[in-house]
């Protein structure tokens, strides 16, 4: 079972010309079309995100991994090709056919996201609890007591001291801010969690604790996770499946340990070689 299946997903930024696709990609060594200057952020991406698993998307900056995440999460709309999403009741939904309000509903109710930068995912002008309340509210809950209880539970589960729930996350440490983001993402019991470089800006010891938290949550909830990272160590620890992207293309897919031990593509071999 898959939660996402894409076919020839392509995303241009620029004027685009007929030869953009063939003149960019991993083999061409660029994602900028030499003829017209268009950036091909995604170049015929075909992938399957397995249900209940953690899929690591690895690649360097500019490989298209964040664009992919943004499109599947539903904050970017301009891609061509097909991206099917299987909702909790098993229906396959073509993301490209949804209007912005429907995409938002998916984001609000069925997806959760954690960004590298807490400023992107949290509102620092309101309390940590308020940040979680916002997500609980979109699911239609209108009882203050219930919202508060839910926020307390989520913060507790993600290791944020609940006595600090009425403080702004601005005063929290980086690791704690990521925990609040995770609590917020989980508020509506999503079935897909998008993690965008969640540990990149953290100290190593804090990084480890956040990874532990994600793993524990995954083991408990079995939600599907799309993990975007350039850190192979993070992917190795969390992911069971892996795709490797370069210049907008998927150059390799496989089980995480197989990619690590027997990478096939020249770029993956280079990447793994460099990381060890």
């Amino acid at each position: 079972m898959t939660v996402f299946e894409t076919q020839n997903l392509t995303r241009f930024y620029g004027v685009r010309c007929p030869r953009c696709l063939e003149k960019t990609g991993a083999a061409a060594g660029t994602n900028i079309c030499p003829d017209c200057g268009t950036v091909v952020a995604l170049n015929n991406v075909n992938l399957r995100v397995p249900k209940g698993e953690i899929l690591g998307v690895i690649g360097e900056s500019g490989s298209g991994k964040t664009t992919l995440l943004r499109y599947l999460y539903g904050v970017d709309f301009g891609a061509t090709g097909s991206a099917l999403y299987r909702n909790p009741s098993g229906e396959m939904i073509e993301l490209g056919e949804l209007d912005p309000a429907q995409r938002r509903r998916l984001r609000d109710r069925e997806f959760g996201i954690v960004f590298q930068n807490p400023h992107q995912g949290l509102n620092f002008r309101i309390s940590a609890g308020g940040n979680i309340a916002e997500r609980v509210l979109v699911s239609g809950e209108r009882n203050y007591g219930n919202i508060r209880e839910r926020a307390t539970l989520l913060l507790d589960r993600t290791g944020v001291p609940t006595r600090r729930m009425d403080e702004s996350p601005a005063g929290f440490s980086g690791g704690m801010q990521q925990r609040v983001q995770i609590a917020r993402a989980l508020a509506t019991e999503p079935c897909v969690l998008f993690l965008d470089e969640v540990t990149t800006s953290l100290d190593l010891s804090v990084q480890a604790k956040i990874l532990d938290l994600i793993l524990e949550l995954h083991q408990r909830t079995r939600l599907s996770i799309l993990l975007v990272t350039h850190d192979i160590g993070v992917a190795r620890m969390l992911a069971s499946h892996c795709i490797v992207m370069r210049y907008g293309q998927v150059v390799e897919t496989g089980l995480m340990d197989q990619i690590l031990e027997d990478p096939q593509h020249a770029y993956t071999q280079e990447l793994i070689g460099a990381s060890l």
Partner: protein, 317 residues
Amino acid sequence: MTDTFTQDASFNDGETSEASRQYSYGLMDEAAKKEIRRACLRAVAIPGYQVPFASREMPIARGFGTGGLQITLSIIGPGDTLKVIDQGSDDSVNAVSLRSLIEKVCPGANTTEDSDEATIVQTRHRIPETILGEHQVLVFQVPYPDILGGVEMNEERRVQLHGETDYAKLYVALYEDVVRNGRITSGAGYPVEVNRHYAMTPSPIPRWDVPRLSMSHNLNLFGAGREKKIFAVPPYTEVTPIQFSDQRFSVESFLDRNGERIACARCGSTGSFLDEIYLSDGATTFMCSDTEYCRKNAEIVSPVPSGAVEFRSPIPL
């Protein structure tokens, strides 16, 4: 709603007195008034939706009621009777100035202080205590037309939130209020939902007036001149305050220390919105914020109680 009128068109003697100038009826040209009326129609058709309009320069500064003024000037005609209030008072500077301006540029329109007589009531921050009827229009002067302005800085994003009726952020503000203060403290301009769809600011009216906006007999038009927006609550339209099921919206209670409803020091009313008035000796007392209602009520109910100050404008008008 008439054509251009001329007030003594004598230009030949070189005089440049006010009276000698030629004005359109209601100060604005017909096209401008038509555009505003069309905006009002759109606003009525989509209750709570903020219709953009080309706000004109007015002879008063923006922020002093230009939005309400433009609506009034666009809908008024000879035979209409206008009442202008500011925070419930017919006598405040702003109300008096606006009233005399409109009188000057709208010949044939009468003015009044009596809410029952008026066909158009222009107001700043209050709804008259007297219940208005179907033949009356209430025009609000609005400083900030977008209720989401306080929770979302980016206007493009706000338009999107309205479009998707995504009002979680308003509830979050309410949540934060309860977290900090133990209850909802939001006072003037309490967020409401109109016709179970758009969230709207009722303009900075007190909470007291919010329930009176719902299912009103009269048409309510809201004009924000500086922000160039018009919106409306048509007659018999549901207006519900945004609230939690266990933290409800409530109007000001005006209870004294013993839990008794404070009465107006002048007319004795216990069913109106009260202003706290400072007396010359530093003590305070409560009186109706709606001066016309209070006066009427005092005439009917009782004489002026001794010790209360007379309501007088500090500036001779």
